[in-house]
Amino acid sequence: MSSVVVFVFWAVIIIVGYFLYSKWVDTTIFRSDSKRATPAKMYMDGVDFMPANKNILYGFQLNSIAGAAPIIGPIIALQWGWLPAVLWLGFGVLFIGWVQDYTSCMMSVRSDGDTFGALSYRLISPRARLILLTFVYFYLLLIAAAFGNVISKLLSTKAVLPFPMLVIVAVSLLVGQMIYRWRVNILITTVVAVAAIFIGIGLGGYIQIPGSFTAMLIALLIFGYFSSILPVWRFIQPFNYASVYVVYGGIIAGVVGLLIAHKPITLPAYTSFSIGMGPLWPLLFVTIACGAISGWHSLVSSTGTSRQIENEVDVRPVTGGAMFAEFTIAIIAVVICATAFADSSQYIATALKNPAGVFTTGLASAMATIGIPASYGGAYAGCMILILAMTVVNLVFRFMKVATAELLGDHIGVAKNPHVATIVAAVLAFILIQTGTFTHVWVLFGGSNQLMAGLALLLVTLFLASKAQSYTFVALPMLFMYITTVAALVYKSVELLSKVIMGTVAGTVLIGNLIAGLIGVVLVICALILAWDGYKAFKKYTAEKVKGAVKTPA
């Protein structure tokens, strides 16, 4: 089977999704109006609320949402065959993914730039905000565990990678110093940084640093601690800036390699409904999150982006456009991996041990077709995955620090201390990674991420219902996401906890199963309470509509 078929499918989804469906929703349901004042214009303060050009915001949005997940999720999901993965990516983004990103942003724009905390308080119930915070905390913990596991595994299995990563960290600190302290021209800074990183990747083959999984994990958590404590300008931002060239350089090289090599897909289109990981429904739909739909996007769209939208008609190209771009990255990842192996047994042997390794093999093979040596290509692809994952981990620890202070700060004073909050987050992540099994943690992470999307869609449904507007196009995806993700979380929690109860696991695996299982249960309880409160709020809004409330534009 040629990969051209997949790209034709990709093009059809983009045309139907972006140029037809999203345009229809934008003009007939939300009726975006270029004359209506946006929060960015009304409350302009030069920072949080600041109107920005749509092209600038599009770049900003894409950079904020695209991480390692659109690559790793599809790689794991290829175990069910490439066809289910591609179909879910396509139809997921078409009917749910862009809808969530667009409507979350639009809802916030039409609500004076309010965040999900304020909106859930107002639209659902006062306790909804607290439950949402609890949910988000565990969601973040799972993100840290899932990506922390990927990073530690890759660093410990490929000794060529630790040195380039140390170089990238050092270069990031230098970039921060050059830009913010020495005020060096950005172009010069960029050239120096990119050259140093590329040389560092090349030297990785000569300066190999072997280390155990635990040693690499501890190094990562120390790294996470400093990224949480240091000012953003000192480390996180320069890291993201310097490394983004590596990431997109790799994607471009991979695409060019694919186009030149024109390799056939070697993996089977479909393997079986039930595989070692579990059944296709619901697990495929949580294994592939980003690329199809991701709750994280709704958080980004409803805070940063919504407060900078200059004109309502820009919301569709900025949020919807970025979502379709991320879908493109996920499709490229699928094709790279589906064409890299001679047969599926090779793929499965690598995927089960180290999913990131599948991508490094695939990208190295694609890069080899344009003359980049396989050894350099492999190290480059490894760095690329590490960078994407580390970008997420950096942000998560920072975010967990704030979440701890907000959840516990009023009752336990020490929770407000940034060092204590970060260390608590790092220790929790350490325990979960050390004791948990990667695929279980990844499924739980995907489940919580998708459930976050379900919650975002629930909020939008209630928002539209409160305005007596048509909400079916959001409510149906919301129901699908809610049922699927709760089913996935229940399935995984029961699987994990039953092993603990039956005594089939012992030692650290038992602890890992217990913690991961309980986190799954907490997430399900939070989701069910929010669903119940959401249902009551929905009944209230629809009753008001029946009584004859005036239909107002959403």
């Binding site: 409350y43 302009m44 303060d45 030069g46 920072v47 949080d48 609320f49 600041m50 920005a52 050009n53 092209n55 600038i56 915001l57 599009y58 770049g59 900003f60 894409l62 950079n63 904020s64 965040t115 999900f116 905390g117 304020a118 905000r129 915070l133 988000v136 830009i179 913010y180 950005i186 953003v232 300008w233 931002q237 993201n240 800036y241 983004v244 958080l299 980004v300 409803s302 805070t303 940063g304 982006t305 920072r398 975010f399 704030v402 979440a403 907000e406």
Partner: protein, 97 residues
């Protein structure tokens, strides 16, 4: 003969496309950093306003002499500062930071 209108419109389209690409690249690579710098400036400015004009947002600060001397220079920023200071903030406000 070549239509000058068409040539002009093509040039305009290229110019527009180039500008859009530049904006996209700026947004993708630099916008976050620029926002960070602006945020740091705003934090310091906000701390200064709180010290000098905190009574405007309900802090029990005795209005000092310098407040009136500074007022003409700060007046344009007072509205956004008050709105920003009094706006409820929660975990979700920090996502994009």
């Amino acid at each position: 003969m070549k239509n000058p209108c068409n040539a002009e419109s093509v040039r305009n389209s290229i110019r527009k496309g180039w500008r859009s690409l530049k904006d996209f690249l700026y947004g993708f690579f630099l916008y976050g950093m620029v926002q960070e710098v602006e945020g740091r400036r705003r934090q310091r400015e906000s701390a200064f306003f709180l010290l000098v004009m905190g009574d405007l947002v309900g802090l029990p600060i005795f209005p000092c002499y310098y407040r009136f001397r500074l007022l003409p220079y700060c007046i344009a920023k007072l509205g956004p500062w008050k709105r920003n200071t009094l706006r409820p903030k929660d975990l979700f406000s920090n996502v994009s930071d």
